[in-house]
Every structure is written in structure tokens, then in C-alpha cells.
């Protein structure tokens, strides 16, 4: 906005400078006489005014449109989020109500204990949903630490953790280049970066079958460090791809697989808070690759 005002004032400033420059030569400031018929002059003034008005209207309409688009998108997002939240709350609450009915009408102590346990589990599920939402809200505005993070070490640790969690059921591989020089560091918050990589790996394992491949690759690309997590798992249908980064979104394939629907939203927020980017390519039935791009710390 400020730059635009600068551009608008530029001709006036230039005129003033030329005026001062010309005035500094006494008697040298030439006088320019213009002669035009009144008809032509009026036509000219009319055309210029019309052109300026058109330009102004066009600019304003464009802005108006953009503002309207943004507002309606924000409205849509909010509505979708509320619907999903409602959905996420509904299921555990239904289970809790059923559980409470079972507790009060339980025929024996065993049945009662069973019902209590089930209610406890649903309460834990709601707690973890609330914790995840808080995490997301915190992340949006919380100050992010800026210390150089060794991504190689972080990737290795996260990879080892995933391998022990997968228990040998996936074919996992990690590739980190060391020539011609080791990977650069990334400036940021190591806990958050670890969480982002962990969530990506966790998803790759969750949405693949035994014997599928899960590959983690890292490389330098210009002034960025790129981390790719690829799998030969279920893949994401094309129409779902644009929604995967949204809060509480769960695709068809994700139904029945435990999760909060907040994992990728967290990854996206973490990437953004590090002025990075995250993108997904996928082919349904073939597999998925997620690419996390983070600005690298400039040369060693």
C-alpha cells in the first residue's frame, strides 16, 4: 500500500526537482507557449478524465473482487471447520451417553467396570482433541524459536522412532547426501520441526500396508533444504488433495484409522511459521509424496 502511494507521488517529486534545477540558472528558465483550439482542448481534457476514471474503476473492482473472494473463502473455511468439529465431538459424546446408560443399568459389577472403562477412553479421546486444537491455536501466534537445527540428526532420530513404531512391517529407507558437502542447517524450533517430520512419517506408515515402501529423502535445493517423505501406500484421491491441509479434515481412506485430522494441518502451520512450504503429490492406489521445503541457513 505504501509503495503505491510512493509511485503516485513520484511525478510530483520529479517535477519539483526539475523546477528547482531549472530555476537555479537565472534567466535560463525557458517559457513554453502552447496554442490549441478550445474544442480540441476540451476533447482532450474529457478523454483524459474518462481514461483516469476507467482505470480507477478497474483497479477498485479488482480489489473488491479479491476482498469478496477472501471473505467468502474464510466464511467457507469456518463453516467447514465447525461442521467437522461438531462431527468429531458427536461420536465420543454418543459413546459416553451410551456408556453412562450402561453404567446405571449394568446387570453386574463386570459390566459396570467395562462401561466405566469405555467412558474413560472416550473422555481421553476428547482430551486429546482439545490438546491438539490448543497446540494448533498456540502455534499460530506463539513465538517460534530461532536456533540453527541440525536436520540430519533430527531426520535420523525421527526415522529411528518411526522404524521402531512400524516394527519392521514397512520397507523403510532414509537417504541423506553427504557429497559434495553435508546438508545445511535450518533455523527454527527443533521441537516443532521434529513434530512436522514425525507427523509426515507417521502418516506414511499409517496409510500404507505391510511390505509397502516408505522413503525419506533430504537434499539441498538452491537456498532451501527439501525433505521428502514418500510411500507406496493407499494414496489420496484427486478431489481430496486440496483439503488435506485443512484442520479436522479426514479423507475417505482415513475413516477407521485412528487420528485427529490435525496432523497435516500442524505440519502446514509449522512450515509456514518457518517461512517454508509443504506440498503433496499423490496418485490414488499408488502412493503419496509430501515435500517439505525449509529455508536453509546460508553457507557454513
Amino acid at each position: 500500500m505504501k509503495a503505491r502511494w510512493g509511485v503516485a507521488l513520484l511525478p510530483a517529486v520529479l517535477g519539483l526537482a526539475l523546477n528547482i534545477w531549472l530555476a537555479s540558472f537565472p534567466g535560463q528558465n525557458p517559457v513554453l507557449y502552447l496554442r490549441a483550439s478550445l474544442g480540441i482542448l476540451l476533447l482532450l481534457v474529457g478523454v483524459i478524465l474518462s481514461a483516469l476514471t476507467c482505470l480507477f474503476l478497474a483497479l477498485d473492482a479488482g480489489q473488491e473482487q479479491r476482498r469478496a473472494d477472501l471473505l467468502s473463502k474464510a466464511g467457507d473455511d469456518r463453516l467447514r471447520f465447525l461442521r467437522r468439529l461438531d462431527h468429531e465431538l458427536k461420536n465420543p459424546l454418543t459413546a459416553i451417553r451410551a456408556g453412562l446408560a450402561n453404567i446405571s443399568e449394568a446387570p453386574g459389577e463386570d459390566a459396570r467396570q467395562e462401561a466405566v472403562r469405555s467412558v474413560e477412553m472416550q473422555v481421553m479421546r476428547l482430551s486429546s482433541l482439545s490438546a491438539n486444537l490448543r497446540k494448533l491455536a498456540d502455534l499460530e501466534k506463539q513465538e517460534v524459536e530461532h536456533t540453527p537445527v541440525d536436520m540430519v540428526e533430527l531426520l535420523r532420530e525421527s526415522f529411528d522412532l518411526a522404524r521402531s513404531q512400524a516394527g519392521g512391517s514397512r520397507r523403510l529407507s532414509l537417504s541423506i547426501p553427504e557429497a559434495p558437502w553435508p546438508l545445511p542447517r535450518v533455523e527454527g524450533d527443533q521441537d516443532l520441526l521434529f513434530l512436522a517430520v514425525h507427523n509426515l512419517l507417521d502418516n506414511a506408515i499409517k496409510f500404507s500396508r505391510p511390505d509397502d515402501r516408505v522413503e525419506v529423502r533430504a537434499f539441498e535445493d538452491g537456498s532451501s533444504l527439501v525433505i521428502e517423505v514418500a510411500d507406496t501406500g493407499a494414496g489420496v484421491p484427486e478431489e481430496e488433495l486440496q483439503h488435506v491441509w485443512e484442520e479436522l479434515y479426514r479423507g475417505q481412506a482415513a475413516r477407521g484409522i485412528p487420528g485427529s485430522g490435525l496432523g497435516l494441518a500442524l505440519v502446514r502451520t509449522i512450515a509456514e511459521r518457518h517461512t517454508g512450504q509443504v506440498t503433496m503429490r499423490s496418485s490414488f492406489g499408488q502412493g503419496t509424496v509430501v515435500r517439505l521445503k525449509l529455508p536453509a541457513v546460508t553457507k557454513r
Binding site: S127, S130, A131, L133, R134, K135, A137, D138, Q142, E143, E145, T147, E157, S158, L161, Q190, D191, F194, L195, H198, D202
Partner: protein
């Protein structure tokens, strides 16, 4: 052992107090309830509790305001703050203003009882607790809580903000086993599947910069499989 201990529970949510009161009474405490900060200050004078458990977001006077007023009036009754979701800033403030401990909602009531007992064990009646001190000292280690600065002898140590918070929590709870879950809850403000690793990495950072040998620690001891313990004695410097 807690038979005569009196707890003042302050929360404006009746469903919470209705359920916590019988729970705390079964744990052996004598319990009174206040529904906002102003009532808490009034009841603190009448009921003379041994400890206050106080919510943060309340009508009239909130938990932080009540805490500040009690401390300004020289009332050093230990206080556990129940922080509201998403307010990690709130937690940092609570520390500065002298809450003795805090717990994130939603919490397990057993955890609340454990916290109450730990705080009561630690408290020296009528005296400001470590949690209210602006500077903490343990041997050559010096933590200036207001300036967020750490010195070891004459040397100033550059710690990440999170490491300072971690050290602060450990130093205000000396000689107490602090689980990794607890540190995560208190310092990070949220729990996540890989959180334990985050705690361990930061403790390693602290040890490296404080030159503390994990095998023969002067400051931070590992309690295998459970958590960490700050080896006191910690003193306050006003």
C-alpha cells in the same frame, strides 16, 4: 496425614467444583469453594486455607489478579493455578507472579491431589516460596527470572528460551522428582507423541551448557525411566 489440611477451591464452573470437592474430601482434605477472585481473597482471610487451587479465567477478578493481590498483601499461602487452554503466556506470567504450581485443564483429579501434596510438603509456612523469588541461586548457578538470564560463576550462559523455562521449573521444585510428562505439560504447554524426546534434548542442552556430568550431576539428576530431579539446595536472592 492431610486430615487437617484446608484447601480453598476457586472456580466459577459449578460442575467442576461439584465433582472436585467430594474427590478432594475423600483424599482427606477439608475443602471450601469460592466462585471468583474477590470471593477467594475474602475466604482466604476467613477460612485460612493451607493451599489455594485457583482457576485463571473467572468473572469479577480473575485468578492472576487474585494471586497478585494476595501476594502484595503479604499472603504467601501456596497457590496452584489451573490454567486455561492455549495460554502458554499465562503460564509464564503465573511463574513470575508467584504461583507455586499449575495444571492444565483438562486434568486428571489424581494428578491434582499429587500436586497439592507435593506443594504442601515443600512449603515453609508464612514464608515466600521459591516460586515467588525473582532470583534463584544454587552454588555457582544463578538464575535471574525477570531478565531470563543464567550465570554460572562469573560466566553468562546463553540458553534458548525453552531451556531457561525448563531450568526455572526444575529450580523452583528442588529435590522433587519431576516426570517428563509434567515438564512437557508445564514448559511446553502441550503434549505430543514425540514430546519425551523434546524434554530429553533440552535437558541434554542444559547439562552441556552448565557443564553438568549426567553420571555425577551437581544440578540435574536423571531418575531412570521416570524423569528428572534438581539437586538442591536452592536459595532465593531478592
Amino acid at each position: 496425614m492431610d486430615a487437617n489440611r484446608k484447601i480453598l477451591l476457586v472456580d466459577d464452573e459449578a460442575p467442576i467444583t461439584d465433582n472436585l470437592v467430594p474427590f478432594l474430601e475423600r483424599a482427606g482434605f477439608q475443602v471450601a469453594v469460592a466462585v471468583n477472585g474477590e470471593e477467594a481473597i475474602q475466604k482466604a482471610a476467613e477460612f485460612v486455607p493451607d493451599l489455594l487451587v485457583m482457576d485463571v479465567l473467572m468473572p469479577k477478578l480473575d485468578g492472576r489478579g487474585a494471586l497478585r493481590r494476595l501476594r502484595q498483601a503479604g499472603n504467601w499461602t501456596p497457590i496452584i493455578l489451573l490454567t486455561q487452554v492455549g495460554e502458554s503466556v499465562e503460564r509464564a506470567m503465573a511463574l513470575e507472579e508467584g504461583a507455586d504450581d499449575y495444571l492444565n485443564k483438562p486434568f486428571d483429579p489424581h494428578e491434582l491431589v499429587a500436586r497439592i501434596r507435593a506443594v504442601l510438603r515443600r512449603t515453609r509456612p508464612g514464608q515466600p516460596s521459591l516460586a515467588a523469588a525473582s532470583r534463584l541461586v544454587c552454588g555457582p548457578l544463578n538464575l535471574d527470572r525477570r531478565a531470563r538470564r543464567v550465570r554460572l560463576g562469573e560466566q553468562e550462559i546463553a540458553l534458548s528460551p525453552k531451556a531457561v523455562n525448563l531450568l526455572e521449573y526444575l529450580m523452583t521444585h528442588p529435590d522433587e522428582l519431576v516426570t517428563r510428562e509434567r515438564l512437557l505439560d508445564v514448559v511446553w504447554g502441550w503434549d505430543y507423541p514425540v514430546g519425551m524426546r523434546a524434554v530429553d534434548t533440552r535437558v541434554a542442552e542444559l547439562r552441556r551448557l552448565l557443564d553438568d556430568d549426567p553420571l555425577h550431576p551437581t544440578f540435574i539428576e536423571t531418575v531412570t525411566g521416570q524423569g528428572y530431579r534438581f539437586l538442591g539446595p536452592v536459595e532465593t536472592v531478592q
